[in-house]
Subunit: 420 residues, 2 copies
């Protein structure tokens, strides 16, 4: 065992030990602790900003783009928002202990299916330091210990954030002080070893790009729920209400192009393309969206760039959109089957047969009729805050909130029943 492996094992075992105590905490205790965390975060904003400045200096030296540096930066108001986010989790109902189903069997056995924490959850992510706090408190509220492995650019900020959270807890609940663990090593071996710790780590959630996801699933022996890319489509049928098609498409692309539920490809039925595409292109031009079209699209809107095969499977996360004219619904479905990422896909149509075929055929976490794919989101779906959007089918699909951070167990109460 290497020194690094020993360190990771120690982290995981501490988390596992704390998870047992955490699973027994009452809702009132958890909410009390969340309030302390919010309080401690606000009191410590100078400390957070100082650590964040080191990350920012390193990031600029390493040549990170200004957009990336902005994502990384923390200031008074962002820290206030972070603390407010923690207080919002206080108001979410506690998933633990909820009776999902109850049955009294003919032999008199009472069988309850009860929601319980998963145990130890490892979250591997890139990006912004606010994810550190969000992930930590959502795991905490659902009774799970968490092992966080953030991006190396945010390392100093993350260290301070976790030390503040731990500080807020150890005064009142020293038995769970190890429930928040941060892996600070930037060695890829750390993740490789972590995801093999079967029986200690119960679940790994990788959130990020292809390299990160591949590294996890290649080595994992622990269950994995991927939060992978969103290649989201909007299909405008010939039966579409034009006004809806224009408004929804604009929103799906432009509302927040860097999110995984933003549209990346627009599919348009041939019979409506001549009416729809010029108007759509005008709107996108005004918004600064670069359009990359198939030959048929470019015949209608010659200013589009030429889309290559790679464009159909690209997650731009930017003001870029690929556009394709299709002959019919079947061609749209085949395109989405082939190039989609099973995240979120929408149909704009008035014809209910087209709507239904789309909804039953498309195998994505969320399928939409006459609405923007941007709605795939825990809060928008009424599930409360989310740890992310699962692109897997097992356990959690789509927005993953507090309930999805839990498993269940069967509690069976009898009076001496035996099986015949």
């Amino acid at each position: 065992m290497t020194l690094l492996q020993r360190e990771i094992l120690q982290i995981a075992q501490s988390a596992s030990y704390a998870s047992k105590a955490l699973a027994q905490l009452s809702s009132a205790d958890k909410n009390q602790i969340l309030s302390s965390i919010a309080n401690e975060l606000q009191k410590s904003s100078n400390e957070i900003i100082r650590a964040n400045e080191i990350d920012l200096i390193n990031a600029r030296e390493a040549g990170l783009s200004e957009a990336m540096c902005d994502r990384l930066a923390l200031n008074e108001s962002r820290i206030k928002a972070m603390a407010a986010g923690v207080l919002e989790v206080v108001n979410l109902s506690d998933p633990v202990g909820f009776v999902i189903k109850e049955d009294i069997r003919p032999n008199g056995l009472n069988i309850k299916k009860i929601r319980v924490p998963i145990g130890v959850i490892a979250i591997i992510y890139e990006a912004r330091p606010n994810v550190t706090v969000d992930a930590a408190v959502l795991c905490f509220k659902s009774g799970n210990a968490v092992i966080l492995k953030g991006g190396s650019e945010a390392i100093e900020s993350n260290k301070v954030l976790i030390s503040i959270i731990t500080r807020a807890i150890e005064k009142t609940n020293p038995e769970i002080r190890d429930a928040f663990q941060l892996i600070t090593s930037t060695d890829r071996e750390a993740i490789k070893y972590l995801v093999q710790l079967e029986g200690i780590v119960d679940l790994v959630i990788p959130r990020g790009g292809e390299g990160l996801i591949k590294n996890v699933i290649e080595h994992a022996r622990v269950p994995v729920i991927k939060h992978y890319k969103g290649i989201c489509h909007t299909y405008v049928d010939k039966s579409a209400d034009l006004e809806i098609a224009l408004r929804v498409s604009e929103n799906a692309k432009c509302n927040r192009p860097a999110t995984c539920n933003a549209m990346e490809t627009l599919l348009v039925h041939r019979e409506i393309a001549k009416t729809f595409l010029p108007k759509m292109a005008e709107i996108f031009n005004k918004k600064g969206v670069e359009l990359r079209g198939c030959s048929a699209s470019r015949e209608i809107v010659p200013s589009m760039k030429h889309a290559t095969e790679d464009d159909w499977s690209a997650e731009y996360l930017d003001l870029i959109l690929s556009v394709k004219v299709v002959d019919n619904l079947g061609a749209a479905l085949s395109h989405i089957d082939r190039y989609g990422s099973h995240h979120s896909d929408a149909v704009i149509a008035q014809d209910s047969e087209v709507q239904n075929k789309f909804l039953t055929h498309i195998d994505s976490a969320a399928v939409f009729v006459n609405a923007s794919t941007r709605f795939t989101d825990g809060a928008q779906f009424g599930l409360g805050a989310e740890i992310g959007i699962s692109t897997d089918k097992i356990h959690a699909r789509g927005p993953m909130g507090l309930e999805e951070l839990c498993t269940y167990k069967y509690v069976v109460t009898g009076k001496g029943q035996i099986r015949e």
Copy 2:
């Protein structure tokens, strides 16, 4: 790519293709097909028995025990039972299309969470040929294509069974004839390659012993739900009703010792051990159960063999039981935490505080108060037939029935809503 890999890929792709058509079948169509399968199985009993005889001859030549040969053997009445089992699945309600939750959001969006098939499920198992039919029809009813990899001893029986099922289908529904796939290669590379087919195979369920499970999780890139061993405990508290303790312990061990929900270790509170253990030993002696006790148990019942450290983590699947005297509830909980397999554990107690501590502390798929661990079973829990008992926490825990063979998707219907 090797020839074997090409063959496995071809099998998986055929299953994936058929799964799309299968997912769209109505309940009536699926039930009609299940009836045809039952019918075809009964009509083909001679064909099945002939193939099974080849397996039996090979098994005896390979020196398999008579008990194992009996598990392998098929005859008229067993085939009748198999067909009857298929007809029972007709009567189970179709999980596909069920609306788990529906919500109309403040912006008017209608959000439905709908149960849908997972897609392609690979099941890797040892043992009896009836599992082949059970697994095939449960996956079918839940709308999933299945790839079966059974034990090599049952290969001829399995081949015939799958060809009969396929025959029953291809007349009426040629588009789903590939929904039932059997891997006939006995090369370990077959499984290794199969479980890496991300994006084609959606879930792998390994059912069996340590070697099989390890081979799967070591190589898998596809999600895995393990059906692993049951080291089940019964803890007899000092507050136990003696009569219940005796009856339930006997049942948990002797009712069907070869099953994963049978008790393997009996823990007894020191204060009740002197009264309870001699009576318990007498019952177990009559039943031919070999007892292996700790020193304290052997002081009370000297005829017990001496339990070694290995006994505490042994899954005997036989008429053998390890027995340990513990000082208190805490010691019982620690023992189960350390040696248990998180399958099924029971407490026999009248003291409700003891009951509650046991139920909340023990992290197993099923926890029992005053009842036999033998009840952990889909039918006994009222879930209908089961594909097996999951020992994992993610997606499905405990008995895995038709609902657990499904995932869900969000279907969102709007009137042009956009996100602000």
